[in-house]
Amino acid sequence: MYRWLDERLDLSRFNKKYLNKAFAVHHSYFIGEIALFAFITLVITGIFLTFNYEPSIRMVKVAGKELPAAYASVLYIDSLPFGAVLRSVHHWSASIMIAASFIHLLRILISGTYKRPREINWFLGLLLLVVAIVTSFTGYSLPYDAFSATATSIGYGIGTSIPYIGEWISQVIFGGEFPTVHSIPRVYSLHVLWFPLLLMALLGMHMLVMVKQKHTQPAYAKKVAPGRILGVPLMPQQAYMSTILFLLYLAVVFFIAGSYIAHPIEVFGPPTASTPAVKPDWYLIWIYGILQIIPGDLKINLPGGAVMNSEFIGSILIPGILGVAAVLLPFLDTRATKMRYMELPTRHPVRTGVTFALLAFLITTTMAGWKQELGFTAGQLWAIIIGSSVITYLVVYYAIILIWGRPPKGDEAETA
């Protein structure tokens, strides 16, 4: 059989070229793989969910109760054998995909591997993270319970706050003023078709560029075999490691899903005129926190009567500024030679300090999401956010200089 195929497809040549491809080895290189495994799991569990879900908010009668069809169909999914577990696997995998992508981004950031010639993959990675978050958000409304409907209507409100075009964009995405009968079919189409296709395309490009450019290597590889690629072949070592990791991933996520059912819609109930106190999923709480402490009357007037109001500034402009800074990074922080080996964080105190300050910012703005419970005022929280970001930077910067000394002057003298 193999010979028959080989004669026609020249498999030996392909195998020689690709199955022996060397994979550099470092613990941190598995984080991106976990994001990929989460995506695969999302697609497979997602197929199961689409087979049973009904994208409509028209009222249906179930066991004597009038319920929106979407809500009723999710109750039906939960009643199927392992239905609730698979729905939870889908939910937790989305969280893991975003978490893994973010940690993967931190690894790239702290090791400086976004530098020339790797800018393209840095941009693709940023885009992947943003699209993954948007995709998760579109999935949020689909069960159409009181909690998710409220959270989605907040998303609708944030969309309308974009100057000039916000109203139009929000109404196109959500099919009019959320919720209308058009809302769920549109969000459903985006969630199960267009965003996954976009994610697949971006993931494909992300990996193609990586194969073409060759993965970066840990700093030790330069000492052991300078100028050559040090790693294990795809078959069998890397394949075994990846398979084991995937199985481990499945074991862990099924254990979590079996123990903690995600988003218990029976508890939240179908949407009513009243709205529950909602918090977004953890990866958006930092924006939710900023929205709570930004002064409501803050606004910037634009020509033509449009304004940038506090909702826009808090939930689109501030994250947008971080995004623009990330896009500009590979142009501002450069090196003379091609990026082949990971840089040591201890040799780059400024960048490492900024990375930790970013983390401090995200953690403290997330904390602001519990403003009410913590009993802090907006002013105190701003002081905590700005203070801890600045202090974290200073502490990390001076700690590195104190322990490892000042990095040698001259661009990458030690790694070039």
């Binding site: 309308t160 003023e177 005129a273 909602v278 002064p295 606004k299 009567g305 449009a306 304004v307 506090s310």
Partner: protein, 208 residues
């Protein structure tokens, strides 16, 4: 055939194909206009108008008409949809028709609220001016209306002015009067209800 005419011919063919493709693709944009659904006007989506009564919006009594006896003194507020007493249509088809009714001590109301109130009872739009959640909670200790989503506090004794939190403007007031033992709508909202995002927040009155 000279070389010159050959290139001219190619340029003309290229330009023709280009213009054809361009206009063709532009025409594909036509459906984009219809992507924003038209808002359908039905009796259920009409704004509250003079003479409308109120019905419970949530709970076991949903749909039942509200009398002053249903409103507890000093809060909490009751969520209500207006109902046209002639046609019997409950106007629950439009989110911004949701109002909250709250009964307070008449002498605690500020001057400007009193003109819109029926004795101590005031009606406000229940849709938060921040991001459109329902202002459905009552902080009894502070005597303030609370939007649970981003913790916006409104003072019902003083025109639902924003006391704390992110909302950009007060909740619009719905003027009411007493008719028998029922609160009844006495006019339109004092300002547009709901979220006015991305446009100049209308501070002025649009009373009907």
């Amino acid at each position: 055939m000279s070389k010159k005419t050959d290139t001219t011919r190619r340029a003309i063919v290229g330009a023709t194909i280009g213009v054809g493709l361009g206009i063709g693709s532009l025409s594909l944009l036509a459906p984009v206009i219809s992507l924003r659904p038209k808002k359908e006007e039905t009796p259920e989506t009409e704004p509250p108008k003079e003479g409308d009564v109120f019905t419970f919006a949530v709970g076991d009594n949903a749909g039942k008409e509200i009398t002053f006896d249903d409103l507890p003194l000093e809060g909490p507020a009751v969520l209500a949809f207006p109902k046209d007493p002639k046609t019997g249509v409950i106007k629950s088809g439009e989110k911004t028709n949701l109002v909250l009714l709250i009964r307070l001590k008449p002498d605690e109301l500020s001057e400007k609220v009193r003109q819109y109130a029926a004795d101590g009872t005031v009606a406000y739009s229940a849709i938060c001016t921040h991001l459109g959640c329902t202002v459905g909670e009552w902080d009894a200790a502070k005597g303030l209306l609370l939007c649970p989503c981003h913790k916006g506090f409104f003072d019902p004794r003083n025109g639902a002015e924003v006391v704390a939190g992110p909302p950009p403007r007060p909740l619009p007031t719905l003027p009411i009067r007493a008719e028998g033992n029922k609160p009844v709508v006495a006019g339109g909202f004092t300002s547009p209800p709901g979220v006015l995002a991305g446009t100049e927040a209308a501070g002025g009155s649009c009373a009907v």
